[in-house]
Symmetry: C2
Subunit: 455 residues, 2 copies
Amino acid sequence: MASAAVSYARENQKRFLNELKDLLRIPSISTLGEHKDDVRRAADFVSSELRRIGMQNVESISTKGHPLVYADWLNAPGKPTVLMYAHYDVQPPDPLNEWITPPFEPAERNNNVYARGAVDDKGQLWMEIKALEALMNSGNGKLPINVKVLVEGEEEIGGESIAEYVRKEKAKLKADFALVCDTELFAPDLPTLCVGLRGLVYTEIEAVGARTDLHSGMYGGVAPNPFFALIEIISKLKDAKGRVLIPGFYSKVKAPNAAELKAWKKLPFNEDHFRKTEVGSTALTGESGFSVLYRTWARPTLEVHGMPGGFTAPGAKTVIPARASAKVSMRLVPNQNPGDILKRFKAYVKKLTPTGIQTSVKVWSKGPACVVGTDNKYIKAATEAMRDVFQKDTVFIRSGGSIPIVTDFQDVLKIPSVMMGFGLPDDNLHAPNEKFHIPNFYRGIEAICLFFEKL
Amino acid sequence: MASAAVSYARENQKRFLNELKDLLRIPSISTLGEHKDDVRRAADFVSSELRRIGMQNVESISTKGHPLVYADWLNAPGKPTVLMYAHYDVQPPDPLNEWITPPFEPAERNNNVYARGAVDDKGQLWMEIKALEALMNSGNGKLPINVKVLVEGEEEIGGESIAEYVRKEKAKLKADFALVCDTELFAPDLPTLCVGLRGLVYTEIEAVGARTDLHSGMYGGVAPNPFFALIEIISKLKDAKGRVLIPGFYSKVKAPNAAELKAWKKLPFNEDHFRKTEVGSTALTGESGFSVLYRTWARPTLEVHGMPGGFTAPGAKTVIPARASAKVSMRLVPNQNPGDILKRFKAYVKKLTPTGIQTSVKVWSKGPACVVGTDNKYIKAATEAMRDVFQKDTVFIRSGGSIPIVTDFQDVLKIPSVMMGFGLPDDNLHAPNEKFHIPNFYRGIEAICLFFEKL
């Protein structure tokens, strides 16, 4: 690791962390309209820094939604070109009362930085930018490879704008491979590359019964109740054993191959420890006959995230609401087509809708699963860089989450993605007290420097 | 109707209505802690007026919850004593965006006054007070019978304080009968007395799965989801045909007698018209083999009012919430004991709770059903007074709603209640755009005057 870039990165760790904290203070919650200006502020923060460190052609690209940030540096003839991806938007912070320190006031505890977006994905975005800075400064204003950077602000809401932009700007974005920093290490101190992601179809089933809210005394027993209808419907979408009951849901599912399944069995993983330390429940659920890793990485699921409507404040209100809805999502695995699954879902919801109720299905986001190959020189260089930083062999895992852009890079730009992530399993993604382990922030910067230098 | 009190009431209609509007401007929402002072303001408004019109021993009685207001006038020796009841608290106004004019800014349209609490129950409370004023003024400071007034501010949240007070102050509250103005006319211009009410057990099932909110990508397929657990449980509490499945739920149900059922069939009621005009849904639901009136008046039900937890804002958040809850209530009919039903409900919920989830049941309110006899002189005088005001024969109905105090008056004070109400079926109780038909406000005042004069 005799790398000048790594030395530079080590000398500037404190400053890098303080800059990250400034970015974390911006509540760039992409799904909430009232934070639109904050999302733009985060985009501006990113493009200013790209400009400052010497990247060229920096631009903030307006979209129907939140802006994309593009930058490049293409002065390494004969060297490969990377397309670096990350996102600067974050999930909503609720429930607020469960945060130990406020979600947009970064706080350090036990060598972690706590804030919404710390690990997902501002911390990892900042690793990419700081690696570029370190390479640029230690290389007399030159990078070891050609670099294109594309950062989005809609990852948490489906990434529609970047998907459209990738389709439109194939030539501009052309690269040899993509670097995506939005995943995690399998275990602390275990160098990990992610080679598979689940897809996602996120819907909201809206149910309408009476014309107006009704008193449950006067009308209870005769008026259709949209909540009860949603409950009837959803109870028939998945059984108590975790099997999704939508007709044809599993028909296209492609299982992992034997070698991959065998490798998963060698990973340091104990289901009971996972249950106790990560989930914290009295039992795990889901399909029997599949391991926890199999269930979360390579089996599709269906979840309910919230049921807006009716009376939700503390206390009693005897209302039969006129309307209610349920946020229901499905995680998809390779070969399940999101459009096909959505069609089956809609048809089944319609079929299950009881008399007196009208339902409709709104789609909030939709993207397929993705598995990337491990037999290219980029994955190989990344594997070595990770090993150098951690001094351990790198493992290949999948993730149950969804990064639709990886599929787009593969299908539209025809390039493989290196998913090099530095989160930890207990980093509380999308939950209160999200954190990023500060040593992993620094390791990420070093690994990216070494990775690019190896190419 | 050559009554001086009625003449006085007619001369002062405009003023009476303006006073009511002042009371309606106070957002006395008993279930919301932040409105505690408003609830007290409404209580003060009522006690001031009782004092002003010449009632004696007016007092505001502090309770663990919201204050009771008591007043009396007991200077009619040899005459019967009435205990007049109403409530000054109201339901929350949400959903706010469906109100045509704001809920606490009373507005007149089409001879109705629109506001939260207009008919339930401030308008009817004001009828009682204004009838007393009219009788007092036209009788040279004397009332035709002895009067005790007891007004509460917790009717919408279970009425615990008044129930306790009635048990404690049996002697003070002793009367020959009670007058309860909190029900409705069966149809416009049809004089109606209510002789039966359903009971209520209102609960919140709280479900807990993981220790913290989890990302549905990482954990979907293995982490227990409290929403799905609630859905599984509630889907088994009532079937699609409206039959409650809690073991033993129907075992004590007492059906109405043949004469009462026969009288209901003669009421001017068309189920299809009711569906179209009142409910506004494409179909009615509930147990087959029972008419709409039977289902709402004399059959128990189970309803879901809201499911707090998770993500409910517009957009997508891929969260498996650590906890969620469901507001579930049951309406009870004669002979169903609320304590017994609650016990059965809790046991069944526990039994239905899936692995990995802990549930607990919080009780927000609990009261039995009640049927009052029609063979006493008070009901008879009320029947005549209503006929005189409306110039039509009075009908006896039940209500599907719950007024637990009526049961307490019967069981604790051993007195019958006359439920004389002037709401209309389309008055939007507990819903947006609640209203009170202004001519019914005036008729109510006159009917109470005549009723008391007849005794």
